[in-house]
């Protein structure tokens, strides 16, 4: 009897799953028919003609069907429980990590012997599994800490605090030796890309994220035009360095001050706006600045941008190949990597300054007022806080860091054009702040690493070429996946990666404030 009932139940659940899958496939059919099945291309006479891609279209619809079917049939709840139990056991995680390592090496060797010409595939596998191993090890250590030192007890708290300090010191140490280590491991040819694209590029966005975090995360003012200040910093440096020949170290603070000035200028009229309105107005400001940069050709050279922007020197010693150059002075052989390394350390220091200043400000009355503003503006006014100047100070300081980052960007590229300051950039920075968890500096840094590192990694994934064919270009899918990831992460964690808030001051002990209580501000 029971077996029969079970049978009926499973048959009907299969039917239901099939029906749901069919519905999904039908929707996918409708959604994808116009733009996937057909493609409008220009022929030789430059007239539009249609191409069809039925196999691709059919594949997508089939994937939708199969995916939904799998989703419906998987015992999700029990899987979740099992996974959670697995993740709690450090030993299992560590052995999984070891298995990953072994598997990665086996796969790498296999790939190498299969296609010895295509070393890229092997490399990609290595990255992939190294990443998985890394994730497992982190998970194992986390699980171990949670079990070993429960949060409830006094010693547990102390140990957790020590571990936190240790982790932070370790991360800082890693950041300090990162370029040297790469240089030592991969040589100047191999490491320059990793220092530049992954080190410098990510650190710029970490700094921008931390700067914007003051405005969005602490003060609760949603600024969608942050890129404007980045642009002000970049163009200030480019124009002043080119026309007056001032050095990077003089122009860096100047660019920050100019950006802060613009922050106040733009901030002043818009601060009484609330919510999405503030977001749209700041977006409009960002666009206006970009359009002015495009159209004021006399000053900015329009779309073409400004090239030949002076590169920073090592406190007066240029990174050139010559008797006065950095390499010659220090008795080294000339190598372009010295400049890249120097730039890496400059942006690292700038980012750390941003973090330090923000951390200090949070514990001062001004920082507490910012957060109070985010929580309840009217209560702030009733307590005698001048909300206008408080908001302006957040705007100005956020803008200042944007300006610093901008002037660094101009100096690093040696070239600025309006292309670099589109709304897309603002969206990326806001996404970093929100995905990281508003207000959390660690979260913002993690989000910047995931988002920027992830999209940069897309450039490297030549392995996809092996799957999808030679003319497959992974870079054009970068932003596509980026947009998708934003949606997915928001649905997965609407409050970002780190949603708890650390109090700025405590009487007995510092307890994290759950995200459920923290407000997001109305700006």
């Amino acid at each position: 009897m029971a077996a029969e009932a079970n049978n009926v139940a499973s048959r009907s659940s299969l039917l239901l799953a099939l029906r749901a899958a069919a519905r999904t496939a039908l929707i996918a059919f409708g959604l994808l028919l116009p733009l996937i099945a057909f493609r409008a291309v220009h022929d030789i006479r430059n007239e539009l003609v249609l191409e069809t891609r039925w196999p691709l279209f059919a594949a997508f619809v089939a994937i939708a069907f199969a995916g939904r079917l799998l989703w419906e049939l998987l015992p999700r709840e029990s899987l979740k429980i099992r996974l959670a139990a697995f993740a709690r056991a450090p030993g299992q995680l560590l052995s999984a990590a070891a298995a990953c390592l072994v598997l990665a090496n086996v796969l790498r060797l296999a790939a190498k012997s299969l296609a010895d010409t295509d070393a890229a595939i092997a490399l990609a596998f290595t990255y992939l599994f190294a990443f998985a191993t890394f994730a497992f090890v982190i998970g194992a250590v986390g699980a171990w800490v949670i079990r070993r030192y429960p949060a409830g007890t006094e010693t547990g708290r102390q140990r957790r605090h020590q571990i936190g300090v240790g982790l932070r010191t370790g991360a800082l140490g890693f950041l300090l030796v990162y370029p040297l280590m790469l240089f030592w491991l991969a040589g100047s040819q191999g490491s320059i890309k990793w220092i530049d694209n992954f080190g410098i590029q990510i650190l710029i966005y970490v700094m921008l994220g931390w700067g914007l975090n003051i405005v969005v995360g602490l003060a609760g003012l949603l600024d969608l035009g942050y890129v404007a200040f980045y642009a002000v910093g970049a163009y200030s440096y480019a124009l002043l360095a080119k026309s007056f020949g001032l050095s990077f170290w003089i122009l860096l603070p100047l660019a920050g001050i100019l950006a802060a000035f613009w922050g106040v200028l733009l901030g002043f009229p818009v601060l009484r706006l609330r919510g999405d309105y503030l977001a749209i107005v700041t977006l409009a400001f960002g666009e206006i600045i970009r359009l002015v940069l495009i159209n004021w050709v006399d000053l900015t050279n329009g779309y073409a941008g400004i090239s030949g922007v002076p590169r920073p020197s090592f406190f007066g010693i240029p990174f050139t190949d010559g008797p006065d150059g950095f390499a010659a002075r220090f008795g080294l052989e000339f190598n372009a990597i010295y400049r890249t390394m120097f730039l890496y350390y400059v942006i690292l220091v700038l980012a750390l300054i941003t973090a330090y200043v923000t951390m200090r400000l949070r514990r001062l009355p001004i920082g507490r007022a910012w957060e109070a503003l985010r929580e309840d503006e009217i209560a702030c006014r009733a307590l005698g806080i001048n909300t206008t100047t408080t908001k302006l100070s957040a705007f100005a300081i956020g803008a200042m860091f944007g300006g610093f980052a901008g002037s660094f960007f101009a100096a690093r590229q040696g070239f600025v054009s309006p292309e670099s300051f589109t709304f897309m950039e603002s969206a990326v920075i806001v996404a970093i702040v929100v995905l990281g968890g508003m207000g959390s500096q660690i979260g913002v840094a993690a989000a910047a690493i995931v988002i920027i590192g992830g999209t940069e990694l897309m450039r490297e994934l030549d392995v996809l070429k092996a799957i999808f064919g030679r003319d497959f270009d992974p870079t054009q899918y970068r932003m596509l996946l980026f947009g998708l990831a934003m949606v997915v992460i928001m649905i997965w964690k609407p409050r970002g990666l780190i949603s708890t808030r650390t109090p700025s001051v405590f009487l007995k002990e510092r307890k994290a404030v759950s995200g459920a209580h923290v407000r997001e501000g109305h700006g």
Binding site: A40, L50, L222, D276, V281, Y477, G483, M486, V487, E520
Partner: protein, 305 residues
């Protein structure tokens, strides 16, 4: 004078397109209180759907039946875009309803980025241009050799906009659906308590918004004869400006705002410099937001203490 009249004609045409997109912003804002950032890109996708449908039809039937073909194209674009926007709401916004306020906005920005890049990857980054349609013009009058003209295309756009707006106005003001929508705007919980299916009402709002955006997209294609994957952002922001100018939440306001933005843009281009026409639109947005945040027809918001 003659230039002015000509620009007036062109501006109203452009304004109808903005107005149709603006309704989508205003409806969604009214019911969910969020700026549907992806709406401009939905409009762009609809123009691409119209383009594909147009190419399919013209390769089947002769050029003589272009008018009929366009009606079919319009209907196909409306239906397909409606499906798209329904799916977007279902996947990207509904799970975030009642959550952290910024989450749907970020999700919408992500969706906007996704749609733009999806079209770029699926259809290629080049501008797609179709041969000009209905380019015959009627000369209204001539002053000093300057012809003030109105094209059949423009007349078609005005007529379609007018008819669809009337139908739409009937839908939201005279039917049970419209009442349900207004009830959800006021108080979703209460609406649910009196038996309104809130989820369905919101879905229908997105469907209607997308259908109107698709009308705008088809017209954009017919009017300009060219469309590219990046064409969602700027018209989207301008249409949002129109919605704000008219008073966000107000449907007639969206149409009036759209016309105003269209007129300002064409007149600015004619008399000042077309380089700065977008700067003008954005500046209007800022000025309106600061000095007239409730817009022309919106209700003023009183700060609750």
């Amino acid at each position: 004078m003659e230039v002015f009249v000509q620009q007036l004609i062109n501006g109203v045409t452009l304004g109808s397109i903005y107005g149709l997109i603006a309704i989508g912003y205003t409806m969604v804002f009214g019911i969910l209180g969020m700026v549907n950032f992806a709406h401009g890109d939905v409009f762009m996708v609809s123009a691409f759907i119209a383009l594909i449908a147009f190419l399919i039809l013209t390769s089947w039937i002769g050029a003589g039946l272009i008018a009929l073909a366009l009606v079919v194209v319009l209907i196909v674009a409306m239906a397909m875009t409606a499906l798209l926007n329904w799916a977007i709401e279902r996947v990207a916004y509904r799970p975030l309803r009642g959550s952290f306020r910024l989450a749907p906005l970020i999700s919408a920005i992500g969706m906007s980025i996704f749609l733009m890049n999806f079209v770029q990857v699926a259809q290629g980054p080049r501008n797609k241009s179709i041969p000009p349609l209905f380019s015959e013009v009627i000369v209204l009058f001539t002053v000093d050799g300057y012809d003030v003209t109105v094209s059949y295309k423009q007349i078609a756009i005005w007529l379609t906009t007018g008819v669809l707006l009337l139908a739409f106005w009937y839908l939201v003001s005279k039917t049970a659906l419209g009442r349900a929508q207004r009830a959800c705007e006021q108080d979703q919980k209460m609406a649910a308590l009196v038996g309104i299916n809130v989820d369905r009402t919101i879905s229908i709002t997105f469907v209607i918004a997308a259908a109107l955006a698709a009308v705008a997209g088809t017209m954009y294609l017919v009017h300009y004869g060219v469309v590219s994957f990046a064409d969602g952002f700027t018209p989207g922001v301008k249409a949002f400006t129109a919605a704000v100018l008219g008073g966000i939440g107000s449907l007639p306001g969206a149409v009036i705002g759209g016309l105003a933005i269209g007129l300002i843009e064409t007149l600015w281009s004619a008399y000042f410099s077309s380089d700065y026409k977008d700067v003008a639109a954005f500046s209007i947005l800022i000025v309106v937001m600061i000095f007239l945040p409730q817009g022309l027809l919106g209700r003023p918001e009183v700060e609750k203490v």
